[in-house]
Symmetry: D2
Subunit: 341 residues, 4 copies
């Protein structure tokens, strides 16, 4: 860590900063420039970060040198993490060249409907089934999900089709229940910094699908992954699903550069979700192909066999035949970059 002092910093202030830093068991290295003095900190900079050195009088700016996300960092773990989702015959690997193709409806509406959709996506090549049992809805008057009944349906249909299943947790009090029924727990974009929930989910030791928050930087995303890992689960699959931008023609803006950034900064796999990123079915195929070509470790797509009757997010779902067609294109691009769906 580098501590850059104010031009106006007095010698007494500089001495005080050095004293504070050395008091934490760290060494310092003073460098006086033409305009500014800089203190280089040698040793474990976390100790210093914890006390917020920006507040020490005379300090102008602090430049961290090491990432604050340690367990999630590539430096800590040079090999890519391969997350295994599911058990028995239905195991899907994500990361390190393995592609997780997640698909399914926004919300679980009934066993019949989910069964039909699961059959279609399985045939098209999906290898993880998604479906929401607890829905975070912006309106208190909207459909909130089937709850435990939905979890049962999801488990049953997943098993029937040999697909591991993932569903979103939104309440720390339901996390254990969800862990019983599913193979992977999703942390939604609106809960990426719900640290209470992150902690509970981490404790289950289940694989996690962590969606990037709409106002989160890539570094914020890795800090949230750090939360989960620090609580027990290293099996975290990150998901780029669009962030807030100024062009409201799309629901969000897909930040495709997050894919190579995560691969550079972290060992965790990252997949792309063009359904939430765009909110517009006609843009989903191009964005799915872009994500895969950028090196994503999987693609997450919402599929519904009757969007008009969907109880949540129908307007952004692909039809099963549209999904199958997209999967054919994805398979070709995967081959072109040396991967297999």
């Amino acid at each position: 860590m580098l501590i850059i002092l104010k031009e106006s910093a007095t010698d007494a202030q500089i001495d005080h900063v050095v004293e504070r830093v050395e008091g934490l068991g760290l060494a310092t290295h003073l460098s006086r420039g033409t305009y500014r003095t800089v203190i280089g900190v040698i040793g474990d900079e976390d100790k210093l970060q914890a006390i917020g050195p920006e507040a020490i009088p005379g300090v102008a700016k602090v430049v961290p040198v090491m990432p604050a996300y340690k367990l999630a960092s590539r430096e800590a773990h040079p090999q890519p993490t391969i997350v295994e989702v599911g058990s028995g015959k239905a195991v899907t690997k994500v990361g390190g060249g393995h592609l997780g193709m997640i698909a399914g409806p926004c919300a679980i509406e009934s066993a019949e409907r989910l069964d039909e959709i699961a059959g279609e996506i399985k045939k098209a090549g999906a290898n993880i089934l998604r479906g929401g049992a607890y829905k975070p809805r912006t309106s208190p008057y909207a459909f909130q999900g089937l709850g435990e009944e939905g979890l049962k349906i999801l488990r049953e249909i997943g098993d029937k089709h040999g697909l591991p299943v993932v569903t979103e947790a939104i309440d720390p009090r339901h996390v254990e229940l969800i862990a019983e029924y599913t193979d992977m727990i999703q942390l939604g974009a609106r809960n990426m910094q719900n640290f209470v929930l992150l902690t509970e989910v981490g404790k289950t030791h289940k694989p996690v699908l962590m969606k990037r928050g709409m106002a989160a930087t890539v570094k914020d995303l890795l800090m949230s992954a750090e939360y989960v890992i620090a609580n027990g689960t290293t099996d975290v699959v990150l998901c780029e699903r669009g962030v807030k931008g100024f062009d409201n023609a799309c629901r969000n803006m897909l930040d495709v550069a997050a894919v190579p950034q995560v691969h550079q900064m972290s060992h965790l796999p990252i997949i792309v979700d063009p359904s939430h990123a765009t909110g517009r079915p006609e843009l989903i195929p191009a964005c799915a192909l872009a994500g895969l070509a950028a090196g994503a470790d999987g693609i997450h797509i919402e599929v519904h066999n009757c969007p008009e009757e969907a109880m949540s997010d129908g307007p952004q779902a692909l039809l099963p035949n549209q999904y199958a067609e997209l999967m054919e294109q994805l398979k070709k691009v995967a081959l072109a970059i040396g991967k297999t769906i």
Copy 2:
């Protein structure tokens, strides 16, 4: 609600849309333009909104006419809501011309420290004491708050100085406990769309301080207020505390225009928090004055008597004497616009 059809919409599709709408007990009014057909919907448009009409084949775009936040809307409640925080002798009104001047440290660290700070801010004119007992920290390694011990300290010090108290809830399992100890419950920016938490907080019937999420539009903020109100508490004070912008010189970007927007769209009071909006003490006074002049129903400031030793967010806190000086300026501007601190 207006349903604009695609240029390519067939007569059969148009008929189907009309059928779907009328099937919900609503009336329609068809208007064929040179290029597009538009269906005006007459009746309670919530019924239609609930089914997501964008997914019906042939529909290009849906234009809502009424706000989706009903209970929070100015139309539903033309008079400004005045929220009363506290009880007995220590009651502070916020809204309708009354100013809530909230101040205190980011985190409650000890009874002694909070006592000193509370004495200083009370003297300067603050009328609500804040302090965090449960802290949402982006790093799992950072100080997480004193928990119930902190709540006890907050209650004790608030009572000693005759100041109602507010603290943040981050876990639905702690909400009842927090409601016992405090006069107002804060919902933080990162939890503005934590609907599980919103629901629990709403059920306590305590006044709520709801901070705007970093990626939330003003409409999103009102939708979250709607959640709380629909669960039981109308006493919601909104708080503009900066949103994500592209200029990282500040932590966030204070959206001061949110103040007149909320006053136009809703009956709820809105205060401004320049501490979190800027993250830089030297910018806080100007932004506090701006918020007040824009019509805010109060100002929220973090104050600490030794920022260097603060266990959270020290670098952005004002010193007690800086706060007192700012309050003198705020009092003058308040008078100029016909209000009193």
Copy 3:
């Protein structure tokens, strides 16, 4: 166009709006809903747009139905435009399945250096050579380009290697000169709404490479293309090169969804520039592949054989061997989606 009236609109105001609209030779269609009255406008809505109907008393909101960019719209011109850049033996087609692979240094520094770079990129498969003779620099103290001398070098080297050439215009007084020396004129991101420059460039009837502004929506980009087309040149190639986002880890945020959006809204080709979008060489390959997979009609890359000595933007340039390696990957992905580089 739909004109939605305020709830408070009086009958006299409604009559006045109808009068204004019909006074422009347009027909109206009145629809009274439960809460709001809507006036549908039948006829050429440009006439109405020109007068700014939002300002007429009683009007709440105006919803346009037709795009304001007419000449650039897909509706006006269903077939994709194929832009031909260059003449004689060195002609490159862009659009309609043809890929424009533009590469070269940020600034033209000398004939020798450009010659070396041009040889390398040509060998790797590039088909248009870029190089700046007039540089828009954010600092008045930075290298501003070689001017006409640079244009001569660019022409000479382009001819030597059989590559059509493109360079940026920043001054309306130089546009004619640039048109003499080059095959395509670039309008930079900072000048996307420099309407004076757009007009002059349009008049030359040369093909145009129009970069999206950092704060421009896709619609804004098409409106700027409309400016050029309305002044004489239909041969406009658009370029997505990143927009402002809140995550400053990258210089800009590549909006890859702009590619399918432009293809849906317009007949103009659109290419992707990952060099300016990311500003970080290690992210460029993934973003180039993403752009191509999303359907872009070409890729624009800055290449320099000694970035350390580059007089502008060296830190973001690829080395010739890195470019060649990327081109091999791009060729495979192009084949996978049915195109050829």
Copy 4:
């Protein structure tokens, strides 16, 4: 400037960096930390900035210590600049406690209309008259301004009412002409980085009103001011007029914190333009008051006596009586903060 090396940097690379830096006549100071080596650069860091040290092999990151805008910086010029606009009896000072109250229509439409508006705003307390003769319009089909005829009208009406006048330049070829007719030249938001135009305007030695670009940081704004100053005019008044945000309820987002930031970083005055920042007349008064309370050196408001008939931006104009009412409020707030309108 601090140069932070990559963890992987070899000794040979470190030596090479030191050599490059010292070759520019600068001194270096090496600091080897636990994880990273840092080179402190002592001397005029511009020389180093000019060569783009990020591109030197082994360099991870460069941290500038001094601002790149020298002439515009507060460090270079500790006293606030007071810009004098106009001559003879009609001189308005802006900055250093003096408030520039700029008002007028978006476009000059006729002498009669401008005369009426000028009379009204003068009576209300405005001290600079604005009006556009050359309009940068996003549509090629919209009214483009009266040109030189408009300049004549502006001069005549300004003189009649004793108001200095300001108008926007959009074409470098018109700058001299505009300088003849007006007292201050405006550089619009879309042209803030039109460096050709900045250069021409700087050469006239006329006072400049420089609007912040929609995607410009405060630092970018100061860099553009540097351009103008480096070309001859120190009399630059900056203007915050809203930047791009994700909440499209307003045209832009007023960044009120830019006011204290500019005052801290620079000696130049900064005014606030709530008309363009919000685009909604009902939000303008609150935002004008906020800007003034934040310390702005003036307020810029668009006023029109018949918005419905305005040829440009009518929907966002205040009526003269609304402006007069706002000015009464502004006068009270100005007094409260020790200033006078």
